[in-house]
Structures are given as structure tokens and as C-alpha cells.
């Protein structure tokens, strides 16, 4: 079972929900896919076991073999190679590592070198495994690290929870893709609703069943509730806007750790998700048999 926690808007409580759910389950894998600023570890406080580098290939041109024909520059869709009269410039940070330049080079002058763009850390806290991706400062592409995170976690047979980055761009789509369920965390404000609509659009496009958690319930207005009803999106849980929750969070405590009663609430939440995923599978089987 793979559950992705996403939101659209930043700061709605994705990491609070993802860590609370993961810590409530007896055995789980939590994957922090917010690789530009991973913070699940602050609430989990795991013992780190292992760190692995994430590397990407980029072209290296041998000027002794190069005929300066410019084929590599023409095929590159990302402007990462500039062929001049007597030199070739490469810009690794623009390169998407597609390998087209070395394929088209008639002089076989292009080889690939690797450079580090970030790392993945593996940590343990009781029955919970935390896998965290971290993009190096200044690197523009988050998706290769998320791809690697998904590859690393795919072999685990327990419940996997992905903590997605905010927004609805490529890194979020990579996180959501191939998940069984999208748990969308929102807040009942116009900002929350605006970005929730975009996030729901992504889950529909990817054909992933989705449900809502309304965090900071009690603030804002009722428009998120109206939207959920119109769109037939189940509201699985409401977490009230409470000072004690914010205080616990500021000390690095998730809901499950700070308030024991929340452990049961999150286990119930998991059961609701489990049921919805199974129903979805049944529906898919029925429609394929028709």
C-alpha cells in the first residue's frame, strides 16, 4: 500500500499528517519526497543508518576527437551544449541527462561523467523506516532524487507513506504517480481551496483515489467543505486549529507522539483509506470485466 500525502498549498500540514500517520502504524516506511527542504526527520528523529549519493551523468567532450560539427548542440533541447569555432562549452546544471548528444556525435567525442546532485539517507525509529531525499543547494532538478527515492522504497513490503513537496509541478507528480491513494491536506481558507482544486485535478489526471484532511479546522470559511461535497471527496479527518498542537509541533512532536489519543485517530484514518483503496480496486476489476 502506497499513500502519498500532498496538498497544493504549502504549510497546510502535510508533514505533520505524514509523520503522525507513519508513527501511529506499527510498521511503515516514510519517504520524505520534499527534497528541496526535507523536514520529516525533525518530527521522527530517527537513527541514521546509511547515506547514498544521487548522481547524474553529463556530457564530457574530447576536443581531440571533436569536429565541431554542432550536431550535439542541435539535438540538445535544453541548451546545455554550446559548440563554438574551436571549443565546446557544456553546462551540467542545464543538462537533463538524456544522452542524446553522445548518441548523435559522429566522431564519438562525447563520453559521460557523473556529478553528485544530492543524497538519500536511511534512518530507523522503532518500527518506522525513514527514507529522506535531499537536493544539493543550487541544483535545479528535484525529480531525479524523487525517482531514486521511489526506486529505493519499492522493494519494501510494508505500508509506504510519501510526504510530497508543496505545489502541483513535476516533483509532486513524480511523488504521486503509482501511489494507491492521495491524502490531500488542506486548510479551510481561500488559499487552501485554490491550491486544493489544482491538487485534485492532478489526482484525477493520474487516476488516483483521493480523500481530504482539513487541518486548522475552525479558521477561514466553509467553501472547502462545499467543494468537497460537490466533488464527492470524502473528508476523512478534521484537525482543529489549537494552540497546543502548534506548540507540540514547534518542539518537534507529531500529533501521534504529543497526544496519545491521536494514535487511534490515525489508525482509523488508515482503515478508511484501506477500505477506499480496496473499493477502488474492486471497481477497476468490475469495469475491466465488462
Amino acid at each position: 500500500m502506497k499513500i502519498a500525502v500532498a496538498s497544493g498549498k504549502g504549510g497546510t500540514g502535510k508533514t505533520l499528517i505524514a509523520t503522525s500517520l507513519a508513527l501511529s502504524l506499527e510498521k511503515a516506511v516514510l519517504v520524505d519526497c520534499d527534497v528541496e527542504e526535507p523536514n520529516a526527520h525533525l518530527l521522527v528523529c530517527p537513527q541514521w543508518q546509511l547515506t547514498r549519493h544521487v548522481e547524474l551523468p553529463f556530457p564530457k567532450v574530447d576536443l581531440n576527437k571533436c569536429s565541431f560539427c554542432g550536431e550535439c548542440q542541435r539535438v540538445c533541447r535544453f541548451g546545455a551544449i554550446a559548440v563554438l569555432a574551436d571549443q565546446v562549452l557544456t553546462f551540467p546544471e542545464l543538462c537533463h541527462s538524456c544522452g542524446a548528444c553522445s548518441l548523435v556525435c559522429p566522431s564519438r567525442a562525447i563520453s559521460e561523467e557523473k556529478r553528485k546532485i544530492g543524497e538519500i539517507r536511511f534512518g530507523i525509529k522503532n518500527g518506522l523506516e525513514l527514507i529522506e531525499g535531499r537536493l544539493q543547494v543550487g541544483e535545479p532538478m528535484a525529480t531525479p532524487i524523487i525517482r531514486e527515492l521511489k526506486r529505493c522504497s519499492a522493494k519494501r513490503d510494508s505500508i509506504i507513506i510519501f510526504d510530497a513537496p508543496p505545489g502541483t509541478s513535476c516533483p509532486v507528480i513524480h511523488t504521486l504517480r503509482a501511489s494507491d491513494y492521495a491524502l490531500l491536506v488542506t486548510e479551510p481558507t481561500p488559499f487552501g481551496l485554490n491550491d486544493l482544486v489544482l491538487a485534485v485535478g492532478v489526482t484525477r489526471e493520474l487516476a488516483i483515489p483521493a480523500g481530504l484532511i482539513i487541518n486548522k479546522a475552525g479558521i477561514g470559511d466553509k467553501k472547502v467543505y462545499t467543494y468537497a461535497q460537490e466533488q464527492n471527496l470524502p473528508i476523512l479527518l478534521e484537525i482543529p486549529e489549537e494552540r497546543k498542537i502548534a506548540e507540540a509541533y514547534s518542539r518537534g512532536k507529531s500529533l501521534a507522539e504529543a497526544f496519545p489519543e491521536y494514535k487511534k485517530i490515525f489508525l482509523d484514518l488508515f482503515e478508511k483509506i484501506n477500505l477506499q483503496v480496496k473499493e477502488n480496486v474492486c471497481k477497476a476489476v468490475v469495469s475491466s470485466e465488462r
Binding site: F78, G79, A80, A82, A85, L89, F91, L94
Partner: protein
């Protein structure tokens, strides 16, 4: 000698475009004859990434040896330098005044990029 000025339009009284990689037009001006032509740069203006490098290649291909613009970032500068184009920044006003300023020696040649990437 050909010089290139980044511009918002196609005439000598068009305003200088202070951005290099995502400039709207490049005006290629011949100092000996006063003749000029405008190159459209819409493709790079709308590029997802790498606008500076591609625009630099365009200027090099035009045969211009001098570039007059507002600012120039690191990847564009590296490419222009490798292509033998000298870069003058801080140009303001119309293309015509920028050319006059250059000819008077009022613009400064840069020896390193004057702004960061994605400026």
C-alpha cells in the same frame, strides 16, 4: 564592425531591452555604414531554460563582435567570451543612444558576468 544591441523593438528608436538571454530582439548594427537589421528572439524569450546560452550562440552566429545590453549572466557570458564577443552592459534608453554611448566610450566592458543566473 557589427555590434549587437538587445532591444524591445525593431527600430533604432526602440528601447534597449535590459535582459540579454530573454531580450525580445537583437539589433545588428554596422558601424561603418549605419545599416542595421533586427533579429527576432521570441524562441529564446519563451525558452524553458538555457535562454542565455542560446541567445549568445545567436549573437555569435550574426557576426557581431560587440554586444550592448543591460546585464549579462554567467552562462551567457561564458559562451559570448568563448565566441569572441565583447560585452558592454548598463545600456539604457533607446538603441540609438546606446550606440552613441558606446561609440563615445561611455559604456563599460565587463570581464565577468554582472548578474547571477535567472536574473
Amino acid at each position: 564592425m557589427k555590434i549587437c544591441i538587445t532591444a524591445r523593438g525593431e527600430a533604432l528608436d526602440s528601447m534597449v531591452d535590459e535582459r540579454f538571454g530573454r531580450a525580445e530582439k537583437f539589433i545588428i548594427y554596422e558601424t561603418e555604414t549605419g545599416r542595421f537589421e533586427a533579429l527576432d528572439n521570441t524562441q529564446n524569450l519563451q525558452a524553458m531554460q538555457g535562454a542565455g546560452v542560446q541567445s549568445a550562440q545567436k549573437v555569435i552566429a550574426s557576426g557581431a563582435k560587440i554586444l550592448i545590453t543591460g546585464h549579462c549572466g554567467p552562462k551567457a557570458y561564458a559562451t559570448l567570451k568563448a565566441g569572441g564577443v565583447k560585452v558592454y552592459t548598463s545600456a539604457k534608453g533607446t538603441v540609438k543612444t546606446a550606440i552613441e554611448d558606446y561609440l563615445k566610450g561611455a559604456l563599460k566592458e565587463i570581464t565577468a558576468p554582472d548578474v547571477e543566473s535567472h536574473w
